[in-house]
């Protein structure tokens, strides 16, 4: 169909390169524009999930785990059909992660001798590892050995991997210089891990080109299997050639085009077509005259091992009880997240919700919530610009798999038709009275109450007066509003904040000023004539201390974010009472 002699037009590899650059650029563009705002480049119906939707592994994984194909994931059918016709075009032509690998591989090969490059591009037995990885992930999502399955393919699926790496590991660096996503610095827990693994894998291309694609990529494995019977394929027109191996020097998939070509490894880079001096390589419908290996190079032993791993992995992970009674109370999920068990059947850890969150509180989870929690979205109210904003539901709208389902503001806030169900609660706030300024340190504060966005507020205050330390004084003289006292010397102005009172005979008078031994009261004490000197009075502070009405609290975390106790916050949200898991509710439900 296409070959090097006689053809003077646009080379197929040039078209392939243009395609790769195009898809890489729109991928980066889609990641960058996934920010909240009204600029044209911000999230205005850009198909930002395009690559996730085209990814058959996301589709297959969620189908196996949920028996449904969610919304835009139907697009994966396009990839599947095209792969069945043309082979692994996605890897060589569209996959943005593949393009990055190919570029780094090219960098590494530039100054190498031909024999060295050939050696690095030879087929290796280890390339079958990706099939075993695929088997393990698919079985984890499919076989309910003790009733539970778990979708973990997102850990290594190149599309969620690339989204996550760019969203969490790369773009925030640019954001924090150019304020792309928000005016405040973006912060993400575990960004070092995500960015570090990303860079490591890119650098591995300097050792073996397309290392990830050849050895690890479970999507490549899936497409390799789907492409086994592709109608068009690369092959030789003659059984033998001069065996110069120039095709293998140029080969991206390490699929041995000079010999019996390994169809499932070929990524359709088409490099071989143009370098062959004998002109024996073709992309067409006929079978290779040198023979073909269509099946992946997997052994029965390997299948057995991966089968056992895949079937046993989830029950083993679940021994920790992290979605049972030992669930982690700080794994607070975004609004609209499904019950934990269902959530773990869908989340592919792509980081889209983390990127779009305007307040930057959705961050990649760690393993404290169990190994399945790793890199899944959890809320961190210590970072970011606020709590979960009550009239925002961006995360559910961007989520490609429905792990966070799209909710309306009405549903989130429990308005209109949702009035009876009430608002969506992410958890509940708890006041730590041993750290809270009014409770523990007798200092006015109630920042949490002020910022509580619920109406009526879920945080109310208990108001009381408390005698200050060493606040018991002997009265010496009263002249108008000036009260001269004897006792511990006061720091001038200390009681002049408007919050302190003088308790004289069960009557409180607000203190407006104080010197070392004289207190100025807002108004002169009544019937002071009969106040005997040497009678005692107390200096009291009026305190408003926060109390959470858990029935009203939606767990938005604004209070925790704003709490001035900046280390371990004095008010903290934990996932108790979240709406999505009924068994975590705090109160007995009556009808």
């Amino acid at each position: 169909m296409m070959h090097n002699t006689g053809y003077k037009g646009l080379k197929i590899v040039t078209v392939r390169r243009i395609s790769q650059i195009f898809f890489l650029l729109i991928f980066l563009w889609f990641c960058a524009v996934s920010t909240f705002g009204i600029e044209f480049w911000q999230l205005r119906n850009w198909p930002v999930n395009l690559f996730l939707n085209l990814d058959p592994l996301v589709a297959l994984g969620t189908i196996l785990a949920t028996r449904t194909l969610y919304r835009g994931l139907l697009w994966a059918l396009v990839t599947v059909i095209l792969t069945m016709i043309f082979g692994r075009f996605f890897c060589g032509w569209a996959c943005p992660f593949g393009t990055m690998h190919q570029f780094f591989g090219w960098l590494g090969n530039r100054k190498r001798k031909a024999a060295d490059v050939m050696a690095r591009n030879r087929y290796r037995k280890g390339q079958n590892i990706k099939y075993f990885i695929l088997i393990v992930f698919l079985l984890m999502a499919f076989v309910p050995l003790n009733g539970s399955v778990s979708l973990q393919s997102g850990l290594l699926d190149p599309i969620p991997f690339a989204y996550r790496s760019v969203n969490i590991g790369l773009l925030p660096v640019a954001d924090n210089i150019f304020h792309f996503a928000s005016v405040t610095p973006r912060q993400y827990e575990h960004a070092w891990l995500i960015g570090g693994i990303f860079l490591f894998l890119l650098l591995m291309n300097l050792v073996i080109p397309r290392f990830y694609c050849r050895f690890i990529c479970p999507l490549g494995a899936l497409l390799g299997i789907l492409g086994r019977f592709s109608i068009w394929r690369i092959g030789k027109t003659k059984p033998s050639c001069s065996n110069c191996k120039l095709c293998e020097k140029a080969c991206e998939g390490a699929c041995e085009p000079s010999d019996k070509i390994r169809i499932s490894e070929c990524v359709l880079c088409f490099n071989c077509l143009h370098v062959c001096p004998d002109d024996v390589l073709r992309y067409g419908t006929s079978e290779s005259k040198a023979g073909e290996i269509t099946n992946p190079d997997i052994t029965r032993r390997g299948i057995l091992a991966s089968f056992l791993t895949g079937v046993l992995a989830v029950p083993m992970i679940r021994i920790a009880g992290k979605i049972g009674t030992n669930w982690h109370y700080r794994a607070i999920r975004p609004p609209g997240a499904l019950p934990e068990e269902e959530f773990l059947r869908r989340c592919v850890k792509c980081g889209q919700c983390m990127r779009i969150c305007p307040t930057n509180i959705i961050v990649p989870g760690g393993i404290e919530g169990g190994v399945e929690n790793l890199l899944t979205p959890v809320l961190n109210f210590r970072s970011g610009t606020s709590g979960c904003q009550i009239n925002c539901a961006a995360c559910g709208f961007i989520c490609p798999t429905g792990a966070i389902r799209p909710i309306t503001i009405s549903e989130k806030m429990g308005l209109n038709e949702y009035a009876e169900k009430g608002p969506i609660r992410l958890g509940a706030a708890f006041v730590d009275r041993s750290r809270c300024l009014p409770w523990a340190m007798k200092r006015p504060c109630i920042v949490c109450q002020e910022n509580c966005p619920v109406t009526p507020k879920a945080i109310y205050v208990k108001e009381f007066y408390e005698t200050v330390r060493e606040g018991n004084y002997e009265m010496k003289e009263i002249r108008g509003t000036a009260l001269h006292v004897e006792g511990t010397r006061m720091k001038p102005g200390k009681y002049a904040t408007g919050d302190y009172f003088s308790l004289i005979r069960d009557q409180r008078y607000r203190i407006t000023e104080n010197s070392e031994d004289t207190i100025t009261l807002e108004k002169a004490p009544e019937d002071m004539v009969d106040i005997t000197l040497s009678e005692r009075m107390e200096i009291q502070i009026r305190l408003q201390a926060p109390v959470v009405d858990v029935e009203r609290c939606i767990g938005c975390g604004t209070c925790e974010h704003e709490c001035p106790v900046s280390g371990l916050r004095a008010i903290r949200v934990s996932a108790e009472n979240e709406t999505r898991n009924r068994e975590r509710s705090l109160f007995l439900r009556k009808r």
Partner: protein, 331 residues
């Protein structure tokens, strides 16, 4: 052994001298650098840095004025109020660069009145530009995500559609300030960059309940210029409002009492928190404005110590009637 000796002998005198010179130069450089950087004392910790001062934008130091306009339509009440004060020309001259400090604290829609109403922002910018101002900037350092706040409150749209310029509080826009004669504002970050080149300052605040201070009005509005972990000032709320009023001296202050937030402030969130008090107060005396506002909010002055505190510092007078306010009613 012999071979090795042969090897060693093969180095020429010339090469040996060059090598000696390179080594000598390297050793000298390392030594010089170490001596240059050597610190005999321990680091002293945070020693404070450069501080900036917010300029005084007030027009009249003594003769302060006040206008109280009743009406439901914010555009009209603002217009009338400015007219009553002597017209916009009294405040804004040709070529003035105006900064409008709004309250955009929360990402809530304008109907909830937790933030400065966009109608007021739009009208204020239009008035300034009509009076010949070369620029009208709008800024705040909100509590929720800034971009969301300016978007949902309608302030961004109001600003941009009327020819104003919105300034989001980027972290590099903050500079440290110290209030002279202040106790609380010491070496504290404020949103300073928007003040660059500004000649006039206008404060625009909604009238709101505030559980800690009693009320959030024009003086409390300057809280939104503070950066850092400013919530710590809640421990001494009345004094921080007093110090803010001492630090920020606006050309004009406007309090929107069209729909006062009577309860659940300062966030609000429900129409039932609001009361149609239908009043707009404008003037050059923030203390008087707030004193009038507290009456609208049905608060006693004695429950809002910050008003008397600010008055005691000479910021203004709590006895607003003494200013002989102009009262206008629009039907």
């Amino acid at each position: 052994m012999n071979d090795l000796r042969e090897d060693e002998k093969t180095i020429s005198r010339r090469k040996f001298l060059i090598r000696m010179m390179k080594a000598g130069a390297s050793i000298t450089a390392a030594g010089a650098l170490a001596a240059f950087l050597h610190d005999k004392k321990a680091p002293s910790g945070y020693a404070g840095g450069e501080v900036v001062q917010i300029p005084d934008f007030s027009l009249e130091k003594d003769a302060r004025s006040l206008a109280i306009v009743s009406g439901e339509n914010r555009k009209l009440t603002l217009e009338k109020a400015i007219d009553a004060l002597g017209g916009i020309g009294r405040f804004i001259k040709k070529g003035d660069r105006v900064l409008i400090k709004v309250n955009a604290a929360f990402a809530t829609p304008p109907v909830l009145c937790a933030t400065t109403h966009p109608d007021l922002v739009r009208e204020m910018i239009a008035l300034c530009l009509k009076a010949g101002a070369s620029e009208a900037r709008v800024t705040d350092n909100p509590i929720n995500d800034p971009a969301s706040c300016f978007l949902l409150t309608g302030i961004r749209e109001a600003t941009e559609s009327s020819g104003g310029k919105l300034i989001l509080p980027k972290s590099e826009y903050f500079k440290h300030t110290t209030l002279i004669n202040g106790n609380l504002i010491r070496d504290w970050p404020v949103l300073y960059a928007p003040f660059d080149g500004v000649t006039k300052l206008i404060g625009m605040a909604p009238l709101k309940d505030h559980h800690r201070s009693g009320a959030s009005m024009t003086m409390k509005n300057w809280y939104g210029l503070l950066g850092g972990r400013r919530n710590i000032f809640h421990q001494d709320i009345h004094n921080i409002i007093k110090e803010l009023a001492m630090m920020v001296k606006p050309t004009l202050a406007i309090l929107d009492g069209t729909n006062a937030m009577m309860t659940n402030g300062p966030t609000g969130g429900s129409l039932s928190d609001l009361k149609a008090t239908n009043m707009l107060i404008a003037g050059t005396d923030s203390v008087a404005i707030d004193a009038f506002g507290s009456a609208l909010l049905e608060r006693r002055l004695s429950d809002l110590p910050f008003i008397q505190k600010a008055a005691d510092m000479g910021v203004g007078t709590a006895d607003y009637e003494s200013l002989k306010p102009v009262r206008i009613t629009i039907n």
